[in-house]
Amino acid sequence: MSAVRLEVTRGPQAGKVFEFPAHDTFIFGRSGECHCAIPDDPYISANHFLLEANPPDCELRDLGSKNGTRVNGELCGGRTKGEDHRQAAKRARPVRLKDGDLITAGQTEFKVSLPRPDPGPATKTLARPAASAPGEALPQVPGWRVEKEVAKGGMGTVYLAFREGDGERTALKVVRPEAARMNKHLIDLFLREMKVSLGLRHPNIVRFLDEGFSDGVFYFAMEFCESGSAAELMEKNGGRLELSLAGRIAAQALEGLGYAHSRSIVHRDLKPHNILLHGEGPALQAKLADFGIAKDFSLAGMSGMTASGSGGGTLYFMPKEQLRDFRKTRPVSDVFSLGACLYNMLTNEPVYDFESVADPCLAVLQDKVVPIGRRGVRLPEPVAAVIDKSVAPDMSRRFQTAAEFRQALQSVLP
């Protein structure tokens, strides 16, 4: 068994089983919106407790319920006199569950079954960086020969490296978390989250070849894309790309995006810098990079930037719903971001009118999207209509899937 399992052993829904093979959340309560709802039990609150399963681990947190939640008979959370549910929820501490634990809320009892932890491969080690040139330091990664630094970004440094043995070229990304916030649980959580993204296999997604953690840094060996990123290509071309080229890049990126969405993975940080390119001319292939790293890194609480009050990256490609609440980011949010990338590749302008507001976030929150036709670039009307639809502020007016967007785009491209 590799999933966290929750079996209702007592109460109106006795016999029902909930399984969580991957990272997931589960809310129990009286409200119809809960994953397991018991509307008729007066001892249960509307939203009673939250369970976060991340096999092989599982945590429970009371959501400020009136009568509290019991684990093996011991009360965890619940309101005290004069407290409302928000205050009680804020005070409640998460409880790490063990295999066989019994959870009781109102008349309902659950039994928790946890999978055995996967011992995983032997820990890989990353030697401390060795000085290679004055003022420079290259990391030494077992199995890889690091040649030179090729880029540095907010999330870490990328090196060109070759696999020992077959000489396969890689872009080796080294990410250093905020040291003071590190602990074993966070490292495990991050690497486990990353495994889902690492498993993506598609011609339009940058492939991961290896990963590990040691001496305070994470490293990820990724397929090397020798033609750089769409952002670099824009720069080489003086800012804008021709419709035929930008359209081809976007359509290919949408292929990769659709595949990731079919595996329930949302990118959340699509931008021309994250669309990498392989080959040239007719053989040019677009590949989406950095699936999961930025999101999982900050969610796991290891981003010093997040903690210290970050500017939070670019707003150029971000839909409103993601800015308002990043937890609400859905596949349709990635559709917006990719539409914004195409818009940017064609116009060298952001989709939003940032100049009209003092606070750039206001442009996003107040739907100040500029129709692409007003950016002074001559585009066939149907193409402009497809792009405008992809970046509609109201998500219900957008293409709902990457496939829908790609089909519409391909049908209007010259």
Partner: protein, 260 residues
């Protein structure tokens, strides 16, 4: 300009910048020039050592640029000072952004800033980000700045309630800061400061740890700026010390009298 304030007011000020209890480095910076009545606090961001570079650049370069701009306009009045402040902060932001673009090691760096400049009978306050300015007037604490973060913005737009704003994840996401991608538009206001009074500038390591009411109590309990700074920092650390804490307390009184 050789600010007329030095002739009209005496300042007694103190500043304390503390690591807090959770951070390994201090990314806050400050500047105090009681001669000219210019005070500033900056809180850097950007991970690794970038935040420190950013806040230090703001604390060193902004006062210099501002005083140079005003030196050319000795008769500058309130609106002119406000304009000079806006322009100096926007230029400082563009320069920081350019530096961050040029040097990949500094990519993503930025800083908050809160600045007070006394002139004539007035003080002009400018800020970007979530570092704050407070005025203590006749024992009453008044917050002079509105945090530039996503939670405040959503609250202004009535998209969330004040209760939700209190622990909304957007309170850590700055909507304006020095070094931002688009033109930095600082909020600037000018107030009349007659007689004696007390100004507090601080990073969110203080305001994120203590409610305004507690800050007011500590300012009232500690009559001299140095003990006020010590009291505020100690209380913020006692409340958790989640971030670097910088507090600058400036007391003023009419020239010829000792500062309050």
């Amino acid at each position: 300009m050789r600010l007329s304030l030095s002739k009209k007011r005496r300042f007694s000020c103190a500043c304390l910048s503390d690591l807090g209890r959770k951070r390994s480095g201090n990314e806050d910076a400050w500047h105090a020039d009681p001669e000219r009545g210019l005070f500033l606090v900056a809180d850097g961001m950007g991970g690794q050592s970038c935040g420190e570079v950013a806040s230090r650049a703001v604390a060193e370069e902004l006062p210099k640029a501002l005083l140079e701009a005003l030196a050319a306009r000795p008769e500058a009045d309130g609106p002119a000072v406000e304009q000079a402040l806006r322009a100096a902060i926007a230029a400082c932001s563009a320069s920081l952004r350019e530096r961050s673009r040029q040097d990949p090691r500094l990519r993503g760096m930025g800083s908050t800033v809160v600045l007070a400049l006394f002139h004539g009978p007035c003080a002009t306050i400018a800020h970007l980000g979530d570092s704050r300015a407070y005025l203590m007037d006749k024992g009453r604490l008044q917050r002079l700045t509105r945090d530039h973060n996503l939670a405040s913005l959503l609250l202004d737009l009535k998209k969330i309630t004040p209760e939700e704003a209190a622990d909304h994840p957007g309170r850590h996401r700055l909507t304006r800061h020095v070094g931002m991608e688009t033109t930095a538009v600082a909020d600037v206001r000018t107030l009349r400061c007659k007689g004696a009074g007390r100004l507090l500038l601080c990073s969110d390591g203080l305001s994120g740890m203590l409610p305004d009411q507690r800050i007011a109590e500590l300012l009232r309990e500690n009559p001299d700026p140095e003990s006020a700074c010590r009291g505020l920092v100690a209380a913020a650390n006692k409340a958790g010390g989640e971030d670097n804490i910088t507090v600058l307390v400036a007391d003023w009184s009419p020239a010829g009298k000792a500062a309050a």
